[in-house]
């Protein structure tokens, strides 16, 4: 198996009095393609934000084996963005350079070419000058993927990239995701669609405040931690069952 790239050690995150994540531990290996699953409010986005460095853990830590400014490309949840901000598609893709070049350095022709290639790759050629406010949900998500391409990072974190996206865009973005995976990048993706998880994501992590399971997706399905007939209530009882197991093992 590949080397561990990101190690979570007893990670906990609180928002005020509310525990979003409690004692989450686990390893993401280099070059892995991992889905993070779990019901709403289970801490999926919180985990991704912590990995991206947007929020700091209350306790525990995230250890990266490789470091550097351009190590992580983060695609936030679309609902956290202000879609009516007056900026063009090209400019938004260009913000992918910000972590590297900061405030003062020029973008330059070489980087402009990279942006135009990235937009071409997601099928947005000809959209360069459009305002992001004019894009459909699918087109906006494509533009965000173009920014991820521009960032050219070894670790890619995606927060619900397929929400409110049309079928054609989804298949195009999935192809891109698999291309990143085949190119040796480490991809961690929050998503709801179990069918998609089963089909495309070799690894998964199931969250519900705590980490219910992490590992091969098919194993998690076998253990019923991921299951098509589990709704949220059942996931809850699954969690309690696993807690009981832990308690018993402590007793023993």
């Amino acid at each position: 198996m590949a080397d561990p790239l990101i190690t979570l050690e007893n990670l906990s995150v609180d928002y005020g009095a509310r525990h979003a994540l409690q004692n989450v531990s686990g390893i993401f290996h280099e070059g892995s393609l991992t889905a993070i699953a779990g019901p709403n409010g289970s801490g999926k986005s919180t985990l991704l934000k912590t990995l991206a460095g947007v929020i700091r853990p209350t306790s525990g830590k995230v250890v990266f084996t490789r470091k550097g400014k351009r190590a992580v490309a983060y695609l936030p949840q679309v609902s956290h963005m202000q879609r009516d901000f007056p900026i063009s598609v090209e400019e938004m893709a260009m913000t992918g350079f910000y972590p590297i070049i900061g405030e003062s350095a020029g973008v330059g022709n070489k980087r402009r070419l990279l942006v135009s290639k990235a937009l071409h790759e997601v099928g947005l050629s000809g959209y360069e000058k459009r305002s992001i406010g004019e894009l459909s949900g699918g087109e906006f998500q494509r533009a965000l993927f173009a920014r991820v391409i521009v960032q050219d990072a070894p670790i890619i974190l995606l927060d619900e990239p397929f929400t409110a996206v049309d079928a054609e865009t989804t298949s195009r973005l999935i192809r891109l995701l698999l291309k990143w995976h085949n190119g040796g990048r480490t991809v961690i993706c929050v998503l709801h669609d179990l069918l998609m998880i089963k089909k495309y994501f070799p690894e998964s992590m199931v969250l519900q405040g705590k980490c219910l399971g992490i590992g091969h997706t098919h194993n998690l399905f076998e253990q019923k931690l991921l299951s098509f007939d589990l709704d949220m209530a059942e996931l809850q009882s699954a969690r309690e069952a696993s807690n009981h197991k832990h308690e018993h093992s402590h007793d023993a």
Binding site: Q82, P86, S88, Y98, E103, S131
Partner: protein
């Protein structure tokens, strides 16, 4: 009456009117870009509350050392920053709702400021603090306003990319590992500009030149650079038209300038090229 007499002569004739115009133009250049970002960050209401938050500070400064520009500035800055930190504290550690915090702090600062002023000052001083006196602006105040504009433009250039990112994708900015200073620098710039505008327009209207042109410009263009420049232009034109009208109609100058800004803003909301009522109405007609 010739056109020159109507549009230019008042400024040729009266030094106080020229100074007022210069003050307003400089305020527009620094303040309107700040207003653009405040508006984009959905902080119009917050900035309203903040514009009153400086009052207790300038009141205390006035009690200690009278109407000196520099002490009023220090008092206003200190009060603005303290009240902002206090609001963050309340939001983070209590269950009070965010807009309720701003209502509370807005009324708290306005009333405490007025009570403090009445301890020593006259009604004229109070009026000066609340509405400013743009026709009586002195050299110190002009120099201060100009310095603020220079520092503002320079600092904005230094944090510009981060600021744009923070407006439409704040999580990405946080994840970038850069721009840690973007938010604090912008906030200090905002308070400094409020204090500068306060010298001319008082606490009640300080926001007029900062925020209203920025709100208006958003209805005409969807490009950041164009919107910022347009905000500045609207602010400058409003200043000129407002001062001129106040001269010819013998009405108070500061309120007239802000009134013209508000008129610009309202016309833009109703008739602008993007997202205005006119666009909506046309869409309805075509839809049917």
């Amino acid at each position: 009456m010739t056109l020159e007499a109507l549009f230019i002569e008042p400024f040729e004739q009266f030094a106080f009117l020229r100074r007022a115009l210069v003050a307003c133009i400089i305020l527009s250049v620094g303040g309107a870009p700040i207003g653009f970002f405040m508006n984009q960050r959905r902080m119009a209401l917050v900035s309203d509350a903040m514009s009153h938050a400086i009052l207790p500070g300038v009141a205390i400064a006035f009690l200690i050392s009278g109407l000196s520009v520099w002490s009023l500035t220090i008092g206003g800055l200190a009060a603005g920053i303290l009240i902002a930190l206090f609001s963050v504290f309340l939001i983070r550690y209590t269950e009070i709702k965010e807009d309720a915090v701003f209502t509370l702090l807005f009324l708290l600062s306005l009333t405490s400021g007025i009570v403090l002023l009445s301890l020593k000052g006259s009604n004229i001083d109070l009026m000066h603090m609340l509405f400013g006196d743009i026709l009586a602006i002195d050299n110190d105040a002009l120099i201060f306003i100009a310095s603020v504009a220079v520092v503002t433009l320079f600092s904005l250039a230094c944090i510009y990319r981060g600021l744009v990112l923070d407006c439409f994708d704040p999580d990405f900015l946080s994840a970038s590992g850069r721009g840690k200073l973007t938010r604090p620098v912008f906030f200090v710039l905002f308070v400094v500009n409020l204090v500068a505008a306060f010298q001319a327009l008082g606490t009640l209207m300080a926001l007029g030149l900062i925020l209203l042109p920025a709100i208006a410009s958003n209805f005409w263009t969807r490009q950041v650079n164009a919107a910022i420049i347009l905000s500045i232009v609207i602010a400058i034109v409003s200043s000129y038209v407002g001062l001129l009208l106040s001269y010819h109609t013998n009405t108070p100058s500061g309120p007239m300038v802000v009134l013209i800004c508000a008129a610009f803003c309202l016309c833009s909301v109703l008739l602008g090229r993007r997202g205005s009522f006119l666009v909506y109405a046309r869409g309805r007609v075509q839809g049917n």
